[in-house]
Structure formats: structure tokens, C-alpha cells
Amino acid sequence: MTDTLNHTNTSMNGSLVKEAPLLLDIENLSVTFGEGSRAFRAVDDVSLTVTQGEVIAIVGESGSGKSVTMMALMGLLPPYASVRAKRVMFDNKDMLGMSPKERRGIIGKDISMIFQNAMSCLNPSFTVEMQLGEVLRKHLGLRGSAVQARILELLELVEMPDAKNRLKVYPHQLSGGMSQRVMIAMALACEPKLLIADEPTTALDVTVQAQIMDLLGRLQREKQMAMVLITHDLGLVSQNSRDVAVMYAGQVVETNTVPEIFQNPAHPYTEALLQAIPELAIGQDRLHSLPGVVPSQYDRPSGCLLSPRCPYKEPACDVPPPILDTPNGKVRCIHTDLPSVDTGTSPFDPATLESQA
């Protein structure tokens, strides 16, 4: 999975983009919780790169290590987690080697993050103004009326309805969508180079979800910031990102560009994820699912982690699979040419997904 996304790509309108400099470069990152026989490897040998101004998506089910990877990047894992990596570089700075104080100067300023439950991510004891002001004062050193002005500007940027009167409001007086807007305003306060959106719309209903994603997309383009979109909603991926990394049980199993991964999934797990999209199962009795569950700490198979659930399993799967090249991407599987699955008309076309979402 190394050097996964180091390839030229076409932008949305089809013209060739010049390769932008690397912003985030994670190579062979592993995170282990606990020690000795009780150790649990939550993230296994993950490599990711993000270039400036690019959107990549990380997809996978709960517990596949998506969020842990990002928390490891920011050094925010609990002390009993051990983080190992060949390289974790952000903006040409080594994130693992730096002191906590240096790191605190970067996170919240150059890297910021928005979360799933915006309502519980705002401190219940402080008003919107106080919480936004805190970030501005700490990272930008703003004081006095400049703070107030910038807060209003930010709230208007995130299209907060009636922004002026929301300043003195406490989090419990905000709706879910408005809380998420405040979180986004907070994350964008210092114009970060990288925004990590950790399932930003999971807790919101569909209409608000569309508004928030439109907002994020617009801000991302306007500010030319890179974005890592962590999600398990493939509809969001198809509409918003250029590249995708699919994670399963702590490993990146496949990376590719958006149209490619939807049209020709190379990994059986990716294929299963696509088959499980409800919108594509209209007319079928049951939603497609893989048998079994994600292997836990104690029943990890020796070879490919998906092998106990994989419909294509063969004896060769009992050894860890190699990382192979696919058109435009990489895959951690020996079955490079999956038989195409019948899921109806033009199954993984992003346009179809968009119209159905």
C-alpha cells in the first residue's frame, strides 16, 4: 500500500492537474493497544498520502481503524497505545518526533478535525462565542474586537442562520445541523491546511447532511485545503472525493480513484461494501452481506484478514496477501481480477448513486 496515491489524476472537469506537493505522508503506520499477549493491533501497516488541496476518503466499517489512524497522526491516542511508523510527515514536519508543545501548535491550526456528534463535541458550559474565541485567541493571537469580528465572519462563512444572535447561545440550544456548523467554523477558524472530517454527517438527517457536505465541499475548494473524509457512506465518497482508501480490520485493503473503485472493485471487501448499498438493492429481497464478523483480537486468521468471510477464499489465502497494482491503484489481495457481479443496471456509477441518494 506504499506510495498509494502518487499518481497524476484528472480533476472533475477532466483536465490534467499538475501534481501538487505532498501535505501528509504516512508510511507503515501501526497502532497497538496494550502489551504482550493482550496486545491488539488496531491499525496495521497503513500508508496514506494526501497532496495539498486534495480530498481523499477513508471507508470502512466501525472499528476498522479509520479514526485511530487520524488520532495517531495528531498524537492524541491514550498512553497505553503504542504508535510505530516508518514516517509520519505533515507539511515536511515529523509529527511523531516533535514535542507535545510543538504538536499542539500544529493541531487545531494547520490540521483540524470535525466529528460525528457535533452536539456532544461542543463544551456544554460555554457559549458559541466563547468556544470560537478561545481557538482564535490561542492560535492566531487575536484580541478584543478582532475576535468578535472574526467569529461573526466565520459563522457567516458556514452559513449559520441568524449568526449575530447565535453568539451568546449555549450548545444545548443549537440543533444538530447548527452544532455541526459551529464545529466546522471552529475547525476552519485558523484556515487549516488539512481538515479531517470524521463521519461529519452520520448524526444528521439526509437534508441537513446534503447541506453540510455542500458546505464542506465549497469551503474545501475555496480555501484550497486538503480534506480526509472518514465515512462509511459510499454515496458521500462518490460525490465528494477524488481518491478512496478502503480499510478492513486495521489494514488498508484497497486504494483507487473514485470512478475506478466504483466500477471495478479489486478487493472482495470493497465489492461487498458496494453490494451492500441500500439504494442499489432496490427490488431485492435482502441486502447483500458477508457472512461472519470482523475478526476480534483473539481469532485473527494467519493470512488474509478477510479470508474467513471471503467468497473467493482459496488455500493461498492462508499467507498474508501481497500488495498488487491495479489500474490506478493498489490492492491487498491475490484475486486481482474478480468476476464481475451482477447488481443491476450500471451499479457503481457515481451519477446513479447521486440521483438515488
Partner: protein
């Protein structure tokens, strides 16, 4: 003493979440006992602050020839001394009024001290649970397993009897419950998402502890503080009574009780008045604390 009595009320008010201020006020006022307790407590604070203006006599002035007078409403009493005089001819009413200064000041400063130390230790114990947290809780458990009065006597015996030492002693005895409560509350708050979000914004350790977490732990701590305040006043009375605290002839309720013990056969009123004062102080604070808990505790709020 004036300046340190006033902030007590200010603290109770300021630390409640302002958004629910009106809700808090209406819930508090629904509890009649709490309102009465608060009024009595407020009166006591006023008496303590304005004792020199309100007291009919100097508490240390000896009225020779008028020793051991019963209260004014009994035969043999004198309207000059409403609550009678003590063995040396000092006015009991004035002494009880001045005594409010000692008791409330000792109670308040001991509670404040215990709260400051307890919150700092409790928060840090929750934040660094591995070594520091375990050490703090071990010492805390040892302190809690001592009978608090015995501990108070040991410390008073080592440091010597005085008001400052009484404050230190009571603060030490009152710290463990604060440590426990702060740690328990903070451990819950540390798991909440806004704490992680705050870390992601780049907040440092001190900011995380005292700005992010602490305001969300305050409600149970305020309630605990009122309970500790009343027990600190009782404790101060006990220490004074045993002669390890404020020394006679200073007008402190416990010390007054201690002196009155010798005359309990001949003049029981000498023991009754300071006793009633201690009782009223503790009761009014407890009632107020009860109302505060009704108003601040989210679990009880849903029931009512």
C-alpha cells in the same frame, strides 16, 4: 473577615451555569426548607459582618457584679443583657454574635482551602490515572480511614492550638471527599467527546483540566461544598470545645461551650446559646445545600 465572608455567596451564584440561571432559581425556590435555610444563613452572614454595629456590648467587656445573669425573659434577668451574662460578666448575646465571625470564617476558609486542594488533586488524579492517580487515591483512602475528629486532634496537638491551625486541620480533614468527588466526576467528563474535540483544537494540559473539564464538574462540587461547610463549622465547634482551637476568652462558639461546661449545673443557658448557634448554622447550611442539590443535580432534576 468581611471580605472573605462575602465571596461565599458570590461563589455559589457565579459557579452555576448561567444559562440555566432562571431554572435554577425557580427550582431552588420551590424547596421551602432551602429558602428558609438560605434566609437564616444570610442573616448569620449579615450578623457576622456587622457584629460591631449590631452587638449591644463589647464581647470582652466585664460587667463586674453582673456575672451569671439568666436571660432577660427569666426572673432575675436584666434587659441590658438579653441572653444573660457569663461567669466573668460578659454579654452572652454579643459573644454569640461575634462568635458567628469565627465559626463562619473558619468554616469558609477551611472549605475553600479543601476545595482548592481537592479539585487540583482530583482533576490531576483523573488525568494521570496510572501512577499519580493511584498515589493520590491511596493517600486519600488512608486519610479517609482515620476518624476525622481524632485526626483533627492529632494535628492540633502537633501544630498547637490556634485559629489558623484549626483552619488547616479542618481543611485537611475535609479534602478527601473533594478529591474523590472531583476525580469521579472528571473521569466521566474525560470520556466525553468535547474533551477530545478540545484536544484536537490544540489545548494544553492546564487548559484542558481547568477550562475544559472543571466547569462541567462544578455542580456536584458546589453541593458538596455546602455540606462540607456545615460539617466544618461542627468540626470547628468540637475542636474549640476540646480546647485545641480558638482559645478562651475569644468568643468562638466551641470555646464558649467548653467554658460553659463547668457551669452547666448552675447556669445551663451559658451552654444553650452557643449550642443553638452552632445548630442553626449547620442546619441552615444543610438546608441550603439540599436546595442547591435539587436545583443543580441533573438526575434529581428529571424526577421533579
Amino acid at each position: 473577615m468581611k471580605s472573605s465572608t462575602l465571596p461565599s455567596d458570590a461563589n455559589l451564584v457565579a459557579a452555576t451555569p448561567p444559562s440555566s440561571w432562571q431554572l435554577f432559581l425557580s427550582t431552588f425556590c420551590r424547596n421551602k426548607g432551602a429558602v428558609i435555610g438560605f434566609i437564616v444563613l444570610a442573616l448569620m452572614v449579615i450578623i457576622a459582618i456587622f457584629a460591631p454595629a449590631l452587638a449591644p456590648h463589647d464581647p470582652y467587656e466585664l460587667f463586674t457584679g453582673q456575672e451569671q445573669l439568666p436571660p432577660a425573659f427569666l426572673s432575675g434577668g436584666d434587659t441590658m443583657f438579653w441572653l444573660g451574662t457569663d461567669d466573668a460578666g460578659r454579654d452572652t448575646l454579643s459573644r454569640v454574635m461575634y462568635g458567628a465571625r469565627y465559626s463562619l470564617f473558619i468554616g469558609l476558609s477551611a472549605t475553600t482551602l479543601a476545595m482548592l486542594v481537592g479539585i487540583s488533586l482530583g482533576l490531576s488524579a483523573a488525568f494521570w490515572p496510572k501512577v499519580w492517580g493511584k498515589a493520590v487515591m491511596l493517600v486519600n483512602d488512608i486519610l479517609m480511614s482515620y476518624p476525622s475528629l481524632l485526626l483533627a486532634i492529632i494535628i492540633a496537638a502537633i501544630l498547637g492550638p490556634s485559629m489558623t491551625n484549626t483552619i488547616i486541620t479542618i481543611a485537611l480533614v475535609c479534602t478527601p471527599p473533594f478529591i474523590r468527588l472531583t476525580r469521579a466526576t472528571a473521569m466521566v467528563e474525560l470520556q466525553r467527546e468535547y474533551f477530545i474535540a478540545s484536544q484536537v483544537m490544540g489545548a494544553g494540559v492546564l487548559r484542558l483540566l481547568f477550562v475544559t473539564i472543571l466547569p462541567n464538574c462544578m455542580a456536584p462540587l458546589i453541593v458538596q461544598a455546602t455540606m462540607i461547610f456545615s460539617s466544618a463549622i461542627l468540626e470547628a465547634g468540637a475542636i474549640g470545645f476540646l480546647g485545641f482551637g480558638v482559645q478562651p476568652p475569644d468568643a468562638e462558639w466551641g470555646a464558649m461551650l467548653g467554658t460553659a461546661r463547668q457551669y452547666i449545673q448552675s447556669n445551663v443557658w451559658l451552654a444553650i446559646w452557643p449550642g443553638v448557634a452552632i445548630f442553626l448554622a449547620a442546619l441552615s447550611i444543610n438546608l441550603t445545600g439540599d436546595g442547591l442539590r435539587d436545583a443543580l443535580d441533573p438526575k434529581l432534576k428529571q424526577v421533579t
